[in-house]
Assembly symmetry: D3
Homo-oligomer: 124 residues x 6
């Protein structure tokens, strides 16, 4: 990992932008690790910043989708950080419980639809 004290040039700029954009006072391990290959840091951060900006969907909805994708993939780091993010944005325990119930439900029905070889009702 590239620690903040060792960051310079474009890496330092991105680290500063991460802290300012996310309103946090440390650089998360994810970004310090990507900094070992600066083009990957640059590409991933630029993309995340653009995709997560408010648009047709609001930031909380986007972070909930991040939790849903990460729980489906079983990605420990990502579940941890996006769960922290939705809580910071005000999601209650009950709403998080509903989110998990939805994620749980569709991981079930996905396995059923595939397992029973069910054909789409309507072609796209």
């Amino acid at each position: 990992m590239v620690e903040e004290s060792r960051a310079k040039d474009r890496v330092k700029e991105i680290f500063d932008d991460i802290k300012a954009t996310k309103e946090i006072d440390f650089v998360p391990n994810f970004w310090k690790t990507l900094a070992t290959h600066p083009p990957l840091l640059d590409e991933t951060w630029s993309r995340l910043k653009a995709v997560m900006a408010p648009g047709q969907l609001d930031p909380l909805t986007k972070e909930m989708i991040a939790v849903a994708v990460s729980a489906t993939n079983g990605c420990r780091y990502c579940i941890n950080s996006h769960t922290a993010a939705v809580k910071k944005l005000g999601l209650s325990d009950a709403a998080l419980g509903e989110l998990m119930a939805v994620v749980s439900l569709f991981n079930s029905t996905n396995a059923l639809a595939d397992g029973y070889q069910i054909e789409p009702d309507v072609l796209p």
Copy 2:
């Protein structure tokens, strides 16, 4: 699959409830297939009906999470039916595009966080 014309008793009741609840005039293949094992039909429909009812999260948000989970798992039937559902609920092409951009982004970062063996910033 159990066709509507052959459904009776509890299966018929559930088929009727599916059509009424979803405001559609046919029983989707998914439910006709689960009807080959009525306890599975009953359990899955009761659960879906409860989980997808409006609560802390609204129905469109829940359907978008269904699309996100299904795209992550690559479940063809489910992607097909939940994409139809979000469109029916009014999601525009641009909003669907943002949803896909978010799903795309976090399938990337999940692989990066796992691939680089990154430890959580904060323990749960």
Copy 3:
């Protein structure tokens, strides 16, 4: 794919062994495709034959596990062929329904356990 009429030497031997072992009168597409790289055909068939032989677990249990793994991965070809196999071994619609209910359940709880970052109760 290598059609049966074009198979020779080791590939022909394996094709004959597949038909004899599985008591079928054609070579499934899977094996005809692996035959494009004979070492892969040889390795995969030898391994499958050894692993699927009756041992501590009986053949039907092993085929049910094959269905469970394939439904979880969403592998269309494999679901198709292993579902045919369990039916040939006598699994009823009701028992297949129970199998699917179990697969469905644990795809749910896997997502919940990961999604809620739950620590094991007892270390291995």
Copy 4:
């Protein structure tokens, strides 16, 4: 997590049922976590209890399928708890080895069948 000492009403009832049904003297972390959203606890426990009851398939077969699904998904908590369950039900190291060999085999062949774009031999 909701500790046992803080559980009341429906949550307490379910905690007691979990301990009685599983013949254990503590509530596993999974259930204490779901208790943060009682409807999710209720739904998940009722479903698990119904699906895992002896039926066409016996409890050991069902737990082995749970291990197979969890190993395929890489769900650490679930692998841990279902491995403990199959051992408690008497599965030997050799039988667990066979189960793992089957899970290992079909995770291979799933990737091969998908990777080579193999079409089903027989339509469902």
Copy 5:
């Protein structure tokens, strides 16, 4: 999908760049579909063009990794297009067979390492 004849402005520019860069005379379905949400088309194409350019790793190695990831995820469209790409770059049937054997092997050992709850030998 946005057909080539309807593409204009930035979408048309990107379509032209795709055809020139890949040396093909049609726009693949993937890109015509992303064009329904131009920012997603733009972001994904720019990123793919940068990541797939020759660097420390050569284009064939990168395309083989694309096949490996896609086979592991079971993504039908992607397996189809990246298999076509490695063949166009000269990969023989035997080398493709080795690639598939490697993908097959590690999908096995991943399930075993997770299934047996094996701890890393050396911490990162």
Copy 6:
């Protein structure tokens, strides 16, 4: 796990072969664990040794594919050991960064192609 000091007969032979082949002075946890079911140890080691031998593809390419598959599956043990292996074979931080960028990219595009239900451009 079967510790080296307790290994005998075929298990001891394989342990010695693992150390000689990999040029390491300890037996990794993976192999010590598979030794609890010797047929699984034997089958997995023989297969890995054959598949990873230099052939059409060189050892570094094969290990990079192992990293790509393991990162896609999120297998912690495997990512750890194959990352160590590519570094031992001389992969630089920049080349590892490119590998991760490719893995990241195609986990994105897989989700997009599935999520948008895109049909292959050319049938296999």
